[in-house]
Symmetry: C2
């Protein structure tokens, strides 16, 4: 450990991922050395109309570009890697990740055209890397994607542990155990602060083992006398392995359907994360030639996504695979909040085709378990690491608070627990922690190629337009004497069905004309007041008639 | 029973409420006598932008106006009464309902200005009413609102039983038991067809009793050393009674907050559905003067509705009531699908204020139970009624199918079970049932004062506008020679933040000008092709630059 002086300071904060689910990004800074953990995206909330994805504002990192030693990625889920290609464009620093994670990152960097320009460094759970004065080491965790790790950052001020996403699975698939011994060893050396996953802090008890799902799948495969279709997250490689295992046990072959499922199966088997016996995989085209009870179809679409394989099959619009009456369809996932209706519709369609559908919460269906630890596992992590300070991360505010409560239960002093918002900092000096000044943090909205060009004004307009549509009022005035040369013309979109509302629009036209004529007579001719008057009188009329408030856009041309 | 001949026919169908949740409306027709059961609304789905509510298309009933003998309402929930005031405007027929239900209906009819014009007939569970050749009688059920009934319709062709919404609660609040004896008696006389509630057909087992909630509430009230806030559905009168009971037991007074909660407490206690001891209710203004552990605040907002009492308290914008650190807030409801995020945000805000919040699914929180029966209760209803034919109602297609499966399990022949879509009919003749011709059915969208004037075209435009906004392109041409006199001007809304995109919009302007100039030179001057060309060239340019597809609205003025 290097020598310390009074100015030395350790700073810990989040740029994303506290008070929200997604766009995870955590920062540990010791003096002039900054280490970033994760660079995720988040899917838009329902009021972010037209937005594709949301990433963290990395203004602080860009300002301190020269200090950033690297970005460590804990695992390959979108909420941890999805912002990376955007961040790297303004911040070209090395990226550290384990094998499968790096494989998934490479796909993204390639798409963004920056694979060649990015320094990517492969780590394993046994690596130790030096990032300026900070030493990073790792520990294996259990999660719904292989190769996930937690991060241990040794700084001259003390050790910071970041769990990544985790659960404790005592009977994991492919014997990929969480490294309890290493976590305990880290704890026994003394940990200054723990940053721990709060995603399931609302759930009492333990999250069941992934291998429970395997047993259930095999049962269903065996009982089904026809084809079995399994939809799950493409990234859930262990789940896919269990579909393979259950297929082997029940002498079925597997057709893989859906672009991201094909991609992951390819990458994961190339990198050795999937054991697929020779001859196990068949082409989707072969499905119809096989005996029904010898076939499994593994596909995307567990969230009812409109363009996904399962949704197309359910609507009988898939080019290669039909659902036949008597087929069993297993949806091995829980709907992400907001997707419930999509999943519901897909299930409805499947029932209409005569399929037997197994769906619903994992506790009912038996074919899904969460990848995040429940309350007892969160306490276990706290007790293994035995930190002096505790910062719950990964979660909405209520989850962070509940996790903080668990911290108190296991004996951490309430004043040593920090529930943060993005940009809130905790400063560590001489073994003591206190809240520091806030740093720049926020959200950047991505819409098409636009990064951050859609802000509150644009969103407010989209919201208005979505509710009651728009009326455009155009009129051409004479430059010479201000008289109306053409119009007013009223064009509406999204307001009323025009053919059935001619009377209303004619009357609206008369109101605009008389408003303008009156203003002309009163010698009012500034455009601003003409426009305001048209807006007001027309808006009032339409509200009286329809109780709607469309956007009104007056346009004055002058000739 | 009147004599039958070969032409006599009994018809059963739904105009709303099968293959969907909400806008319930069921029709039983024997020759020239039509009886309607329920007239509900449904809240808009996420793709129905700007729509307030959805009601059934009653075209069939309006066409057969002279045959409609009346509308029977099973209970006072919006999905059963909310469409009534719209339906009655085109179909002025008598309405039959029990006391509390009629009280809630009256509020709606008054708002719609048709209370005086509507024949409203009070029934009790013991009433028997003659509707042409059809005799209606009733039976008490358990549900999350008092005074709910099932309907028994005796026709010359046989008896049709409609359960309404129901559960079986063996320890109901205020001793309001479901009438097992009467249901059994109806069954023993022989029932032609049962229409039964499928809302919870996905849930195994039994739905817990409402009185479980009462015990839990009393525990929480007793343990809390400060104020307790309880948010629940205003219509859940039994839940409200239990809040009152728990308050009495723990020597707390109750302040009622939120317009609909105040309304329901007033109506329900006037009509005798709530027992509130003298002096129990205090004004919201008094809350701050009372000792904290002597107060309960009963309020609306259990769905996180933006303008509701609880949401305002959570945001510290309520005029009368603040949440103080240490207060206990109980959200005694499960979020309706689509409301999860609103509820989550409210809970977050409450945690930020330092409140202790009890929320989540009833199985975790203990302070909520469903009002609908689970699978075992659905089987019990089937076995009590012992129908020859079975038509599952109230539910998405998958729920109807699962309920049909339960019907098969208890011994109903699969060919005697009809899973319908709205408008599908079942014809009964000589004790035999078969599918009949489809009748007109569908949805009518209400937007402000507009009933049905927003259709697919308007919705599609709103969707487009909400995604990428709109660009209006205006140009004034000379009538004489077709030259550009003014413009092109481009005005955008909801597309990009204009101040930061001047370059893009300038370039867009140049593209429109050059497109128009080229067309002029080529002597193309039909407006249609001018518009199409502007749309295409501008659309292409914007997509290349931004990967967005705003609506483009070209407007040509001529002077």
């Amino acid at each position: 450990m290097s020598k310390k002086n009074n100015q030395d300071k350790l700073l810990v904060f989040a740029l994303g991922g506290v008070g929200e689910i997604g766009k995870n990004m955590y920062v540990v800074q010791y003096n002039d050395d900054i280490v970033v953990v994760d660079a995720g995206l988040k899917f838009p909330e329902e009021d972010m109309l037209g937005i594709d994805i949301v990433i963290p504002d990395v203004g602080y990192l860009v300002e301190n570009k020269d200090k950033v030693r690297g970005i460590i990625i804990t695992h390959g889920h979108e909420d941890h890697i999805g912002g990376l290609s955007y961040v790297l464009k303004s911040l070209n620093v090395p990226v550290y990740a384990t094998k499968l994670t790096l494989g998934l990152i490479d796909v993204k960097l390639k798409e963004a055209g920056i694979l060649g320009d990015t320094k990517r460094i492969l780590i394993s759970a046994d690596s130790e890397i030096q990032l300026g004065t900070i030493t990073a080491s790792f520990f294996k965790t259990n999660h719904s994607i292989p190769d996930s790790v937690g991060v241990c950052l040794d700084t001259p001020e003390g050790t910071i542990v970041h769990t990544g996403d985790f659960k404790f699975d005592h009977t994991p698939v492919n014997d990929q155990f969480a490294d309890l011994q290493r976590i305990a060893a880290i704890g026994s050396k003394g940990v200054l602060a723990l940053l721990s996953d709060s995603t399931n802090a609302e759930r009492p008890g333990y999250t069941p083992s992934e291998s429970n799902v395997g047993n259930e799948l095999e049962d269903i495969f065996r009982k089904s006398t026809q084809r079995v279709v399994v939809a799950t997250f493409a990234s859930n490689v262990h789940r896919i392995q269990q579909v393979i295992n259950a297929s082997i046990a029940t002498r079925r072959k597997i057709a893989v359907v859906g672009r991201s499922m094909v991609n992951v199966v390819t990458i994961a088997s190339e990198l050795g994360y999937l054991n697929i016996p020779e001859g196990m995989i068949i082409e989707p085209e072969e499905v119809n030639r096989m005996t029904a009870d010898r076939v499994v179809i593994l596909c995307t679409g567990s969230q009812g996504e409109p363009m996904s394989a399962l949704t197309r099959m359910a609507r009988s619009t898939h080019r290669k695979v039909d659902i036949l009456p008597g087929d069993t369809v297993i949806i091995a996932a829980t709907p992400i909040p907001g997707n419930e209706r999509y999943v519901g519709r897909t299930v409805d369609e499947l029932f209409r085709l005569g399929a037997h559908v197994i769906y619903g919460p994992g506790s009912v269906s038996g074919v899904h378990v969460s990848g995040h630890g429940s309350q007892e596992e969160l306490k276990l992590m706290l007790n293994l690491v035995k930190p002096k300070y505790f910062i719950p991360i990964h979660g909405e505010y209520r989850m962070l608070r509940l996790h903080a409560g668990l911290g108190e239960e296991v004996g951490i002093a309430p004043e040593n627990i920090f529930v943060l918002d993005n940009g809130d900092t905790v400063e560590f000096q001489g073994g003591q922690a206190a809240r520091g000044p806030k740093v720049q943090a926020g959200r950047v909205l991505i819409d098409g190629l636009g990064v951050g060009d859609v802000g509150n004004i644009v969103l407010r307009d989209r919201k208005l337009l979505s509710q009651d549509g728009i009326l455009v009022v155009v009129v051409t005035l004479s430059k010479a004497d201000g008289t109306i040369l053409s119009g007013p013309d009223i064009i509406s979109r999204g307001f009323v069905y025009v053919r059935e509302s001619e009377g209303l629009l004619d009357e609206a036209n008369r109101i605009v004309t008389s408003t303008l004529t009156k203003l002309m007579n009163d010698k009012v001719n500034e455009w601003a007041s003409l426009k305001t008057n048209v807006k007001d009188s027309l808006g009032r009329f339409l509200y009286e008639q329809t109780r709607r408030r469309p956007m009104i856009l007056p346009i004055i041309m002058e000739v």
